[in-house]
């Protein structure tokens, strides 16, 4: 794993494959680590390994098995030490209630997963770059 990496919590294999491709093409200097299960994700977020090697950004899908994105976010945002790590929520729908909930729980950004690949390949790197630059 590269030193600078993005943590992606996402269970959809197609989306994972697409993201890998986009990272590789557009932001090759960042590594990407995927976790596809909610509880696994929380375990990792609360682990020593995570504390020692923190990601630049967390991409968090709303719909993941066992614990959903919002539940994961709630737990994650309780850890004060990590408040500086930006979380970008992703969802396939633009349900207002979910968006509001996500922001209330401490998400930094929310994107509806773009319909097509060209859009996705532009939007995702842009958003990641923005938050990483902003954080510096």
């Amino acid at each position: 794993m590269a030193e600078d990496y993005i943590l992606s919590i996402e269970d959809n294999n197609t989306d994972i494959a697409l993201m890998n491709r986009i990272f590789q093409k557009n932001i090759p200097h960042y590594g990407i680590k995927h976790i596809s299960d909610g509880q696994e994700a929380v375990a990792f977020l609360e682990s020593e390994a995570f504390r020692l090697q923190q990601p630049k950004l967390v991409l968090l899908d709303i719909k993941v098995p066992r614990l959903n994105g919002l539940q994961i976010l709630k737990k994650f945002r309780k850890i004060e030490a990590y408040l500086g790590i930006p979380v970008v929520m992703m969802s396939s729908s633009d349900r207002k209630d979910e968006i509001i909930k996500a922001y209330k729980l401490g998400a930094n950004s929310f994107i509806e997963k773009p319909r097509n690949y060209p859009e996705l390949s532009k939007a995702l790197p842009a958003l990641i770059n923005y938050w990483i630059v902003y954080n510096k």
């Binding site: 197609t14 719909k63 396939s92 997963k113 773009p114 996705l120």
Partner: protein
């Protein structure tokens, strides 16, 4: 019950002179009787009839004030003192100067009353028993009511030897009708004649209930006066309610004299505690029937009464049985398709079969259905509106227009009405109608001149009993008990069914609620789960295009573009389906807004300059303000604009006009284009889901206009289109 007054009918009590006449304290007995009475406790004689000396050898002067044991011997005293209240003592047989007498004692109002009347001892007791047995068996064999009456009349005539025996039945107004008659052949028949209620006034009817059989032995004889102790017969008259020999009222005697009757016997026919009728016997000369024979008559009458009850109970039971069968058939029909109206009024069995009515109707949920001969719909509704405020569960009448004269117009078809309301609050009801039955009633004498005042202002009964025919209008046949019972049972059944139906609807509503919630989840899943694979298809097609395009031949290249195009289309379709389902689910957020502003906003987000550079769009500067859900109306506008842009693309100078105008006397916003248009006959089709009039050269899911229509419908507004092929279309809408 098929006879007699029932509690269903109002009992009209008209107080006449006769009704007020205190016939039980007239202070006189008939000539054939003798009376002595004493105080029940002190046994001091306090009343004597003038003629008592004929029996006891001493006159009233000697007897009054004496103790009773000075009059009767020890044996007689013992028997007399055994007399109990409300019971007639066994008669004591005494013989005085060769004459046989029955001594009859009873207690009444604190007095022990002792009467003497002649006894006929010549009758053969054995033969008498035989005769009675024969009568009982004949009565038992009589199958139906009329036959029973006829048999009874004949038997009584034969047994007692009166010139005329009539069975006289009371109707619901206490008028009496001669239903059966046995008479000497030279007498004219009175069968079928009706006697007004005043002929047998109320207190006479009361006395009949107390005392089963009464005779007047000699109408023309002078009654015997009763003297009281201390001459106080005026202030303190003796109560003769239970007396066997009590004299009749002068008015009644005059009444009988006017009919030339010399003697009479009257027996009360009591059915289930109420006076059903009378057995009235007339003799045209004096006639005495002794106590034992009167007891036989009482016994006979009791048998007759109980047979009558049995018969009518059997008939009632049979009718109820039939009605209950009909009811289950009706219920089966109703529950088959949950249609109460049809179930009750259509097909081979209807609610009409439950009664003898000519017509019936059911009014439920604002809908009226009729069967048979009934008033027309408006008339029935007027009737219900008239009856409902009476606040009665049911209204049952045989003379509707007499009770409610304003309903004169339905007299012919509905003089008889039985209306049962199904609920307290609503006007829902089931009704049956009986037609007017114009009846010729033969009164015994002119009922308008039942009595006249004589020169002393005294009421005297009518002189003529010649049959007097009257046409009676505005009345129907009576409502029989079984009809009323059946109607009430049907009401119960229907109420039950309505309740079940309500539960069912409630159940369906809950299911619908669940279905709606499912739909919402479903829509969300569609958004989420359909999008991801689509992103894969689109994404990887793009990846191939980016990295491997040059390695493909022409067909391979066009195939990649087709995949990407299809994915785009699919995404659009998902958007539309979601938008469509959102319209029905979401709550409306109504407010006033500027239509001009909204049109500008919507035009602003459409890629017009990019995709439709040649179109010219005109917006009327001052459209009226709108009131509705702005976001939803934005969706309508977007769909209409997208349509207009799409179908003007092929036109040389595409033009779209947006404005407001009158159409069929109503204001409409409109979106007009000069595009390809369509045949006006497709107007309805164009708003249907997935209905497309054009081929694939025009992209679209066929949902946009359906969404627009749904939104407008949700606003209770109207949407329409005017179109002509090649000339363009104008979509019009308003928000109600």
């Amino acid at each position: 019950m098929a006879h007699g007054p029932t509690s269903l009918y109002p009992k009209e009590v008209t107080l006449t002179n006769c009704d007020r006449e205190p016939i039980h304290i007239l202070g006189k007995i008939q000539k054939h009787g003798y009376l002595i009475a004493c105080d029940a406790i002190s046994h001091i004689v306090n009343y004597c009839s003038d003629n008592i000396a004929q029996i006891l050898a001493k006159g009233p002067e000697a007897l009054l004030g004496q103790p009773l044991n000075a009059v009767f011997d020890e044996v007689q005293m013992k028997q007399l003192l055994e007399t109990k209240v409300a019971e007639k003592a066994t008669p004591i047989h005494t013989t005085i100067e060769g004459q046989h007498y029955a001594m009859l004692a009873h207690l009444n109002e604190g007095n022990l009353v002792v009467e003497f009347e002649p006894l006929e001892v010549d009758a053969n007791a054995f033969e008498y028993q035989n005769q009675l047995a024969e009568i009982v068996s004949k009565l038992n064999g009589a199958g139906e009511e009329q036959h029973m009456c006829d048999v009874t009349a004949d038997l009584i005539k034969e047994f007692f030897g009166y010139d005329r025996v009539m069975i006289y039945r009371f109707d619901e107004h206490w008028d009496g009708i001669v239903v059966s008659e046995a008479r000497e052949s030279h007498l004219e028949s009175w069968l079928g004649l009706r006697y007004p209620a005043s002929d047998i006034p109320q207190q006479a009817r009361k006395l009949f209930l107390k005392q089963g059989v009464r005779i007047i032995a000699d109408v023309t004889s002078t009654p015997v006066h009763i003297q009281a102790l201390g001459g106080k017969e005026q202030e303190n008259p003796i109560d003769l309610s239970l007396s066997e020999t009590r004299a009749s009222s002068p008015i009644h005697i005059e009444y009988l004299e006017n009919m030339n009757v010399g003697a009479s016997l009257t027996a009360a026919i009591i059915s289930e505690g109420a006076l059903w009728g009378l057995i009235a016997c007339h003799h045209y000369s004096p006639k005495f029937v002794d106590f034992y024979k009167r007891q036989s008559c009482k016994f006979l009458t009791q048998i007759f009464s109980s047979q009558l009850v049995l018969l009518s109970s059997n008939i009632l039971l049979q009718k109820l049985n039939e009605a209950s069968k009909t009811r289950s058939l009706l219920m089966e029909k109703i529950t088959k398709n949950w249609n109460v109206h049809k179930g009750l009024t259509k097909g081979s069995h209807t609610m009409l079969d439950l009664t003898q009515a000519q017509g019936a109707a059911v009014f439920l949920d604002g809908k009226l259905k009729r069967v048979g001969i009934t008033p027309d719909k408006e008339q029935i509704l007027a009737l219900i509106n008239r009856l409902k405020p009476l606040e009665q569960d049911e209204v049952i009448t045989t003379q509707l227009t007499k009770d409610l004269p304003e309903l004169q117009d339905i007299k012919a078809k509905a003089s008889g009405v039985m209306c049962l309301f199904l609920s307290n609050l609503k006007k829902d009801a089931i009704l049956w109608f009986k037609s007017e039955k114009i009846e010729t009633v033969n009164w015994a004498g002119n009922p308008d001149k039942l009595s006249t005042l004589d020169s002393n202002e005294r009421l005297t009964p009518r002189k003529s009993f010649e049959a007097w025919s009257i046409q009676e209008e505005g009345k129907s046949a009576p409502w029989e008990d079984y009809e009323i019972v059946a109607a009430r049972a049907l009401k119960q059944d229907i109420s039950q069914i309505i309740l079940e139906k309500y539960d069912e609807i409630k159940g369906l509503h809950n299911l619908l609620q669940i279905a709606y919630e499912d739909l919402e989840t479903f829509s969300y899943s569609v958004a989420h789960d359909l999008r991801a694979p689509l992103r894969g298809i689109d994404g990887f097609a793009h990846i191939i295009k980016e990295d491997y395009f040059e390695q493909l031949d022409e067909f391979g290249k066009s195939s990649i573009d087709t995949i990407i195009g299809s994915a785009t289309k699919m995404n659009q379709l998902i958007d539309d389906i979601l938008a469509f389902s959102m319209v029905s689910q979401s709550e409306m957020n109504k407010d006033k807004f500027s239509m001009n502003k909204l049109v500008d906003d919507v035009l602003g987000i459409l890629p017009i300059s990019q995709d439709y550079p040649s179109v010219s769009i005109t917006v009327a500067p001052q459209m009226p303000q709108a009131y509705g859900d702005r976001k939803m109306i934005a969706q309508v506008l977007q769909n209409l604009f997208t349509n207009a842009l799409k179908y003007t693309r092929a036109v040389e100078q595409p033009q779209i006009t947006i404005g407001f105008k009158e159409h069929q006397n109503k204001g409409f916003y409109f979106v007009q284009d000069n595009g390809i248009g369509f045949d006006q006959s497709h107007e309805k089709r164009i708003f249907r889901l997935f209905n497309r009039l054009v081929g694939d050269e025009y992209e679209g899911s066929g949902i946009g206009l359906t969404i627009a229509k749904r939104i407008i419908k949700k606003h209770k507004g109207a949407i329409a289109v005017i179109s002509k092929p090649g000339e363009g279309s104008t979509f019009l809408f308003n928000l109600g």
